[in-house]
Amino acid sequence: VIVEAFVNLLVGVADLIFSALGHAAAPGFVRNLGGQLSTIVDYSASMGAWVPWSALGVAIGAVMAAHVISLSVKVIRMLLSLFTGGGGAA
């Protein structure tokens, strides 16, 4: 299966990268970064009276879904072009 082979290839590359990075511990600012990000999120959530976060979430999700759909369409067109001699190539 092509997809499985492709994903396995990516995982293998990631493993290679992970192994190349070593096993260093995270520094202190990284360990505190989570709390700081939480504070930012807290501030943002408190802005709910001014900013429609739900609408933004829906919009962002729709745009991401559109990207997935567009990518899928392009892949399908690319595959079909293999049977049409290049006609309809993505």
Partner: protein, 527 residues
């Protein structure tokens, strides 16, 4: 020019294809052939089979025969020929010969023959039910025909399938009998020659004690009666020779018919072969109608009798005498030029018309017996069958092509699915392996250090709290929109942001998806 030539070439190829396919398609539907001859006398045995034929002789409005096949289509072009033109006068017979090659996909046919006299009250049907083997003769000289005294306009043969009259074909011919050739003369009526008497109609035994009908016909030549003759008809054996009808007047009129219909026998008849039916004709010159014919008969010199066993057969006979030469059935004994009255009816036999081998198309009809209706209908029937077979063949080919294309598409889709769609649980397993690989590494340690990012407080209209030590102790909430003008401003801001984000997202989705299809609405052109 090229397109025109291409069209012409395709048309020619299609025509050739039709010519090539049509005979094969027609032949494929042909099975055993059954040859049928309908005439005189009836077949002795007709049984079994899946088709039946009914022959109807219409004296007033023509005649017809029906052929159907509950087991399949009966094909064939009948060739019918009236065998006699003894029409229009009392006591005469109707004889019609029909022959044809029939096809029944079930293999055989049954038939019955009959006649219908149009609106005449003497309508009747003589039926001979049963299968029609290779060649058969069906009689039409039913008992009721003889006293009709009407003309036969035409004789038709109609056949249909599965009793569907709308799917019938009819062949008709006008009544005619060709004049006999003079060379066929076989005898003359001579002075002193014995008068012949015969039973001329069938007896139909029914059970053991009755017969449906028994008819005796006498005829005399010329236009006048047979003066000085008397006769009796009898059934001997069952009733000991009791005369059931007689002519006490002494004159035998032309076309005299003696008929018994469904006579009940006194006792059950043990053996019909021992029962005789006959006609006796007595000649005593000078007798008057009041004379007792028994007293005046001269049985030794002038008694003429004929008797035959009562079985399911026909007998034909006639009466001739030196002064009234007229011969009906049997051997031809007299010749009258330019007339057919002296022609005997056909011999009582069945004629087998050899049919082609199974699977072969019907043979071309004999030109001597060819009839326009038969030929035309046969050709039209063949064309129609060919069209149906061709349409069926084309439909079958199209269906096979569509099925094949559908199969290819299905196989192709199945192949694509097998090629690109991973097995169930593949991504879960891969993600678990990815996490395991990342654990303990530098990147994994950084990710773990971040932990969960969660908001510390809850959302409310108060907005974020800000501490400003330089200004003073405590916290400030500059974006509090719980009341007053800030609330209205916050609501308006939410609306503006929501609309803007919604429209932007909509346009973005259209553009992104459109680019997937190679359409960029933002520029109006293709990528």
């Amino acid at each position: 020019m090229f397109r025109t030539r291409l069209r012409v070439g395709l048309a020619a190829a299609l025509a050739v294809l039709c010519v090539v396919i049509t005979p094969a398609a027609s032949q494929a539907a042909v099975g055993p052939w059954v040859s049928v001859t309908i005439g005189l006398p009836p077949p002795a045995s007709l049984s079994g089979g899946n088709c039946w034929v009914s022959f109807q002789s219409h004296l007033d409005s023509g005649s017809g025969a029906l052929m159907t096949g509950p087991g399949g289509r009966c094909y064939g072009g009948p060739d019918i020929t009236p065998g006699s033109d003894q029409h229009g006068e009392q006591g005469e017979y109707i004889e019609v010969h029909v022959s044809g090659a029939w096809h029944d996909s079930a293999g055989d046919c049954e038939g019955h023959a009959g006649f219908v006299l149009g609106d005449h009250p003497d309508n009747g049907t003589v039926r001979v039910a049963g299968s029609i083997p290779e060649g058969v003769v069906i009689p039409l000289n039913g008992a009721d025909v003889r006293d009709v005294g009407c003309d036969i306009a035409e004789v038709c043969f109609e056949y249909f399938h599965n009793s569907v009259l709308d799917d019938s074909d009819t062949v008709c011919v006008s009544k005619s009998i060709p004049a006999p050739a003079e060379t066929e003369t076989t005898g003359e009526c001579q002075e002193g020659e014995p008068v012949k008497v015969s039973i001329v109609q069938k007896a139909y035994p029914s059970g053991t004690s009755v017969y449906d009908s028994l008819e005796v016909s006498l005829d005399v030549a010329g236009g006048g009666p047979l003066t000085g003759w008397n006769f009796t008809a009898f059934e001997r054996g069952q009733d000991s020779g009791v005369a059931h009808n007689q002519n006490p007047g002494g004159d035998i009129p032309k076309g005299k018919v003696i008929r018994w219909v469904r006579r009940e026998a006194t006792d059950p008849v043990p053996d019909w072969s021992n029962v005789l039916a006959g006609v006796e004709v007595y000649h005593f010159d000078g007798a008057s109608p009041a004379d007792d014919w028994n007293a005046n008969q001269d049985p030794e010199s002038n008694r003429l009798a004929a008797s035959v066993p009562l079985d399911a057969s026909y007998w034909f006979g006639g009466i001739t005498d030196p002064g009234h030469c007229r011969w009906w059935f049997g051997e031809k004994v007299v010749n009258f030029p330019n007339t057919t009255q002296d022609e005997p009816f056909a011999a009582a036999n069945s004629q087998v018309i050899p049919g082609p081998e199974v699977g072969d198309p019907p043979e071309a009809p004999d030109e001597s017996n060819w009839t326009p209706w038969g030929g035309i209908l046969s050709v039209l029937n063949s064309i129609w069958n060919a069209i149906k077979d061709l349409a069926s063949s084309v439909a079958g080919i199209v269906g096979q092509v569509v099925s094949a294309i559908g199969g290819i598409v299905d196989d192709l889709l199945d192949g694509l699915v097998d090629l690109f769609v991973p097995a169930d649980g593949f991504f879960d397993d891969t993600l678990d392996g990815f996490s395991d690989a990342m654990d303990g590494t530098t990147l994994g340690n950084y990710v773990d250090a971040l932990g969960d990012i969660t908001p510390a407080g809850t959302s409310s209209c108060a907005g974020p709290s800000i501490s400003l030590p330089m200004v003073g102790p405590g916290t400030y909430q500059p974006l509090s929109a719980c009341s007053g003008g800030m609330s209205s401003a916050a609501a308006a801001t939410r609306v503006v942001i929501a609309v803007s984000v919604g429209l932007s997202a909509a346009f973005a989705v259209i553009r992104i998806v459109g680019r997937g299809f190679g359409w960029d609405p933002g520029t109006g052109g293709r990528e």
